[in-house]
Point group: C2
Chain length 249, copies 2
DNA sequence: TCACAAGTTTGATGCGGGTCAAACCAACAC
DNA sequence: GTGTTGGTTTGACCCGCATCAAACTTGTGA
């Protein structure tokens, strides 16, 4: 939780501090605050409470409804963000990994709008809200945050549209391709990866049951499109997977 | 009135020109750029290309993929925003009415991420992007736009979660209650309203077929929860509708 | 005004995916 | 090691919603 984090940032105006070039060296590279904004690398990390905040698998970064204290950049590991529906059940609205920023939706009313739970051991930059807002007084950084938020809107809109319109096969195929693409962006193989979430979590994200997710994976395997072994997945025929997307049953 | 408005707006900065008080008089009132930000009423409208841009039913405000030129505030009428899926079909991702801002998602890459189509005759403020960005150099306005975007993220996240998890009855009940609440916010009756979209459009938004939407409305009517007559709806038992949301099956 | 297109309602039927169940496996605590 | 818990796979069944169809209503344009 945010409270346990220690503030070790300098006392002077943090926004304009010479940077420890930690962002530049960070494994997230350009993914976190992406292209065309070199200044951000120099301004973000020095604002963090602690550039090495770690969470263990299962720990929560923040809770829905809690007063927002920080904005977070994921440095390593995987998170899920969850929403609680009116009937009490929890639904996953996103999976997040290195280079992504968590907590932006909380800027709407000052409370986090989702939970964020670590799916693996994680490392984040926690940027206290007041420092973050200080950063946003600079128009370049401010514009950049708008870009991040706008992308988030477009991403979720597309997800919502797809959830309502696609079949289980289409959804699972799209999910695998999405993971693969994000993996490739980070320099890993787009063909082989480890799912960092359970079938149940995939199902919750896609609006399916875990049995259907598992069955669909088995189906793809039986057709030679992928190889699955537990959480290990290998995409054997990406274009065939892609063609699953356009074919209405 | 003009004097009041002049007071807090320095004359030399073009962004903060004394306003023609149109925003203050606008029917959107506080809904457009909501509470706690009086300055915005005074700065937004003067930036518009034309404070009386009108569209007729069926016209498009912008198209997906087009280079973004403006951000829009809806003054009157109803819009839908649509996304095109990889298989070519179009899905509705939102309905929008007076006081809501369209085009914010386009700030992500400079292109509109959805279509926006007028469902009725409409009137909008079209604010050219360069003027909008000028406005955003002021930290108050910039923060306000972040609030709008953050709310949009939370709204769509919740929509995506619900689409995947709710049954047809739950979805339609929630939809009616949502319309009702937004209607009430604008000073109209929360009990009686005219649906400004077709069954097919509701279905597209909720991930259902138009037949299922119609049947569900008929079902609610048969149970005395609502009265439907074409596009005219009257909510007769709001709490019973709300209880539809929590009851699984 | 009429004519045609589009939207709505209701019914009949079938399938995709939810539900229930059982066996198996991996992770972890002790 | 052993027990426990949670995740995975596969099968059997069935229900909610999609699909197909037909009759009807509403809207729109000449």
């Amino acid at each position: 939780m945010a409270d346990v984090l220690k503030n070790n940032t300098p006392a002077r105006d943090p926004v304009l501090m010479p940077l420890p070039k930690a962002c530049a060296q960070c494994a997230c590279g350009k993914l976190c605050f992406p292209q065309a904004l070199p200044n951000v690398y120099q301004t973000l990390l020095p604002l963090a409470r602690d550039s090495r905040t770690r969470l263990r698998r299962g720990e929560r970064l923040f809770n829905i409804g809690d007063r927002q204290t920080d904005v977070y950049a994921v440095k390593a590991g995987f998170f899920k963000t969850c929403m609680r529906l009116s009937d009490g059940q929890e639904t996953i609205v996103g999976f997040h990994t290195m280079g992504e920023v968590l907590g932006l939706a909380g800027l709407g009313n000052g409370n986090y709008s989702t939970h964020a739970v670590a799916l693996s051991d994680c490392e984040v930059c926690a940027i206290p809200l007041n420092k973050f807002e200080k950063l946003l007084e600079h128009s370049t950084e401010s514009a950049h945050v708008r870009v991040l938020m706008a992308r988030e809107i477009a991403r979720i809109e597309s997800h919502a549209a797809v959830i309502g319109a696609y079949s289980a096969r289409q959804l699972v195929a799209r999910f695998l391709l999405d993971i693969s693409a994000r993996w490739a962006e980070r320099g890993y193989s787009k063909y082989e990866f480890v799912l960092f979430m359970s079938r149940k979590e995939i199902g919750s994200f896609l609006g399916l049951t875990f049995e259907t997710v598992g069955r669909t994976l088995s189906y793809f395997q039986s057709r030679g499109l992928i190889t699955v072994n537990g959480k290990n997945v290998r995409l054997r025929d990406i274009s065939a997977l892609q063609s699953q997307l356009i074919h209405t049953t």
